[in-house]
């Protein structure tokens, strides 16, 4: 009940936020100096053609009119034509988004369990060598930008120890996997091509690792410090004094409250993965929406940039909503504040 009201309320707010966001990004992209039509058609295109293009894209109309054309299109699912790919941005999304989602899922979900494991380990071995090792590496890893990891991995595993595929996107050319879910590894498995699935997995390994490292160690650190903090709470002393074995306390009564803060920042982590994917996809030639967006940003592909920002807004809001629902399920206290 409370969960449903939360979702409804949040979605209502999200619509307002997204509309505002669309206005911000739309006007932002229109204040670019220069002529988007000329940019789209190149230096040699005759002026008549450029003028036609301008007319077609409404670039010669006042800003509110342009926005009206654009937003009505967007509401109908038509995000306009990209000047780089020369296709409808909606179609580009359909093609590039799954690749990024696959990357983000691999970089975002499995490492969480790893992070929890490391965090718990760190807390269990507080101030002993496993803890020091985890803390030391987490400090170093968190302090290093994702694009630096990407470059280093590329060098180490792509060049010096050439054991991982370094280019060619999501899968080797020799495999052909029919798209069902859009997630390559899954599709390959559905199509009963284990070799292709393995190949796709190897392609995923470096970019997702570069994206995963930072937030994994951050989450591990957070889990550890919450474990330690909560270990000193009265309720743990209380349950200990009740004679419940240490093992059960750690695994159940200490872990759950310590994990909740980690889970609740996951929405932000996913956002930072999406952000970092911009450079990591570019470095690894990953045919995802972030590389597409990076290209669009650098070549001032107006429709594509507006579309991508809006898309990321939608994804981000949905992820946060999902995370909040998970937190509400995990943490009964949240139910109180929500209903209040």
């Amino acid at each position: 009940m409370t969960i449903i009201t939360t979702i409804v309320k949040r979605l209502g707010g999200a619509i307002v936020v997204l509309l505002g966001l669309s206005m911000i990004i739309f006007s932002l992209m229109r204040i670019i100096p220069g002529d988007p039509a000329r940019l789209a058609l190149g230096p040699t295109a005759p002026e008549e053609i450029v003028e036609q293009y301008r007319e077609r894209m409404h670039y010669n109309k006042p800003l509110p009119t342009q926005y009206y054309y654009w937003i009505t299109g967007v509401l109908k699912g038509d995000l306009g034509v990209s000047t780089v790919t020369r296709r409808n941005v909606t179609r580009d999304f359909a093609e590039f988004l799954p690749a990024t989602l696959e990357l983000v899922i691999w970089a975002g979900i499995p490492p969480i369990f790893f992070a929890l494991l490391l965090g718990v380990l760190g807390a269990m071995y507080n101030n002993r060598w496993p803890d020091y090792l985890i803390r030391f590496s987490s400090y170093i890893i968190v302090a290093t930008p994702a694009f630096v990891w990407a470059v280093l991995f590329m060098l180490i595993f792509g060049y010096w120890l050439p054991i991982l595929p370094s280019i060619g996107g999501r899968i080797s050319m020799k495999f052909s996997v029919p798209s069902v879910t859009g997630l390559m590894v899954l599709d390959a498995l559905i199509d009963a091509q284990p070799a292709a699935a393995w190949d796709a997995f190897l392609h995923l390994l470096m970019p997702s690792l570069a994206l995963a490292l930072g937030h994994t160690m951050q989450e591990a650190r957070l889990t550890r410090s919450h474990m330690l903090e909560n270990a000193g709470k009265d309720y743990i002393t209380m349950i200990t004094s009740q004679g419940v074995p240490r093992r059960i306390i750690n695994r159940r009564f200490l872990l759950k409250p310590s994990v909740i803060p980690t889970v609740s920042i996951m929405g932000l982590d996913i956002a930072s993965i999406f952000g970092n994917a911009f450079l990591v996809e570019t470095i690894f030639n990953w045919p995802g929406i972030s590389r597409y967006a990076m290209n669009a940003i650098l070549s001032k592909d107006i429709n594509a940039v507006c579309g991508v920002v809006l898309l990321f807004g939608v994804i981000f809001i949905l992820t946060n909503l999902l995370v909040d629902v998970v937190v509400i399920i995990l943490d009964p206290r949240m139910r109180q504040t929500r209903t209040a």
Partner: protein, 541 residues
């Protein structure tokens, strides 16, 4: 607690196994599946747009030449030879051009190539207007189909360079495209004019057929065995053009034999380190007329002063550019590269600070220029140019000029070039000619325009020069036209319109152990004309 440690160990162990386990996999690929394949893979800076009415950049023309046929074909000496057109006939006044089409040409779809396709292709090109349309747009009035194998181009004015320009006119399959128009589009009843279809397929008759498109990643095709002009059995069975040419990636792929040749955009250092890493890597050259020029915006003081421009001619360390920064280059001595029609050496600059100072003394800005901030833009996609820019900046500082260097992404440069006010005061550009006739170059670089492009950021706006160019273009006779072109160059030399710096060949690192790469046609894109390339997969290690 111990169990957690155990789990961690197991996970680490598994990871190690995964990583080490996959190490033989790529090697297996090579041995079992790819070693026997005759394939030619090359990188490019961006995803090619091979729609002949859309694409015209380096990446596009690599694909265009291999997938489509043109009426005439370029020759090694800068002329043209009959290709789809067996023969042609030019009217006295230069306004009517008749072409006789070969009768034995079939498209990849199996359709017969006729005069209708030729007319359709030209109309489509002019209507869409992008890509190479600029070579024809202002000059061609209409196209008439005389019969199935004869077609007539009616020109608005006498247009000398037309024949050379036709090298870049690619013929598309009318029937196939018409069957694949999208319902909605910008061209009325023609829908999208087949633009959408051409993003993922080809509609040509050339020696290769596109069969695999991975948008923004790569495009790949197979040999068209029934090609009318024939294909050699050692021409690669398959080609791939990748849409990315990041240095590390290129080097890695070369080392792993995942790439047969690099593109022309690799840095000198990267090329050196590739050549040093493997002695089977060799360099192939193609003198396509590319190079580097110092562009001076005449509409921004002090660049309106001839002597200031002259001064910059003496600030460039040509030896450093030609030997260190852009190896294998030669100093460029005219506004057009030396492989074009009518070339004449008109500049005689050297690196000489005294002469630079002397030129500056003569200018009307002699007293004020040292207090000015001179804005120098270079585009971030091309690191070699940063070095040239820095070198000029350092030299200018020695005579007291204050240059400020700004790195702009390419898109910003293009956007800013629309107007003389936003165009950079100083910048470095490289304009590789699309065709072997110099007319188009003069038009795009020097002729006065209302709205600018990155090619004319000089903003010369000189009516005298416009007159010379307009005249030269009408001359049909080749020798007379050459002389007219020479006159333009002399005028540019006198007025120091801009500072040409170097002519640079395309430098391509290729796998010489199993690939023969020896570019024959000195035009952009033709380095990878696959009928001139031979691949011997059995020699591959």
């Amino acid at each position: 607690m111990k169990r957690f440690l155990m789990v961690l160990l197991v996970v680490c162990l598994m990871f190690t196994i995964v990583v080490s386990g996959c190490s033989p996999t790529p090697a297996d690929d090579l041995d079992t599946e790819e070693a026997g394949e005759s394939i030619f893979r090359v990188t490019g800076p961006i995803m090619p747009k091979w729609d002949p009415a859309v694409g015209s950049d380096y990446a596009a023309c690599v694909v265009l030449g291999n997938v489509f046929d043109s009426l005439v074909f370029p020759t090694a000496d800068g002329g043209v030879e009959p290709w789809v057109a067996e023969s042609w006939d030019i009217s006295e006044d230069g306004l009517t051009w008749d072409f006789k089409i070969r009768e034995d040409i079939y498209f990849h779809s199996g359709n017969h190539l006729t005069a209708h396709d030729v007319a359709y292709s030209m109309n489509r090109l002019l209507e869409i207007g992008e890509g190479y349309a600029y070579l024809f747009f202002e000059y061609i009035d209409s196209v008439e189909v005389l019969d199935d194998y004869n077609v007539r181009f009616n020109c608005k004015t006498s247009y000398g360079p037309l024949l050379n320009n036709l090298v870049r006119f690619y013929i598309v399959d009318q029937e196939l495209l018409e069957a694949n128009y999208a319902d909605s589009g910008d061209y009325g009843d023609k829908g999208d004019y087949g633009k959408g279809y051409l993003l993922e397929h080809d509609a040509g008759s050339g020696p290769y057929i596109i069969d695999h498109v991975d948008t923004n990643i790569s495009v790949s095709g197979v040999k068209f065995e029934d090609y009318w002009a024939g294909v050699d059995e050692n021409n690669p069975d398959r080609f791939v053009v990748y849409a990315s040419n990041d240095g590390v990636t290129v080097k890695t792929m070369m080392a792993r034999q995942e790439l047969e040749s690099t593109d022309m955009w690799q840095t000198a250092e990267n090329i050196d380190s590739m050549l040093a890493s493997d002695d089977t890597f060799k360099l192939a050259y193609n003198y396509t007329g590319g190079g580097i020029n110092l562009w001076l915006n005449h509409q921004k003081p002090p660049m309106d002063d001839k002597y200031v421009r002259e001064c910059f001619g003496y600030l460039v360390d040509y030896a450093a550019v030609c030997e260190t920064i852009l190896p294998d280059s030669v100093q460029k001595k005219s506004v057009i590269p030396s492989n074009l029609l009518g070339y004449e050496s008109v500049f005689d600059f050297e690196f000489n600070l005294d002469k630079a100072k002397a030129a500056l003394e003569k200018s009307k800005y002699a007293d004020t220029i040292k207090d000015m901030k001179l804005e120098f833009v270079w585009n971030s996609e091309s690191p070699d140019r940063e070095k040239v820019a820095l070198m000029i900046q350092a030299n200018a500082a020695k005579i007291g000029l204050n240059i400020e260097i700004v790195e702009h992404p390419w898109a910003t440069i293009v956007a800013n070039s629309a107007d003389p006010k936003t165009s950079p005061m100083l910048t470095l550009t490289s304009i590789t000619p699309d065709i072997s006739d110099s007319g188009a170059q003069f038009v795009s670089m020097l002729r006065t325009k209302k709205v600018g492009t990155w090619e004319n950021m000089n903003w010369v706006n000189d009516p005298e020069l416009d007159k010379l160019i307009d005249h030269a273009l009408t001359v049909v006779d080749i020798d007379e036209r050459a002389e007219a072109y020479a006159e333009i160059q002399r005028y540019c030399g006198e007025n120091i319109i801009f500072i040409p710096i170097a002519e640079t060949p395309e430098r391509l690192v290729y796998q010489s152990s199993y690939v023969d790469l020896d570019p024959k046609i000195p035009l952009q894109g033709f380095s990878f004309y696959l009928r001139d390339i031979k691949v011997y997969p059995e020699r591959r290690k």
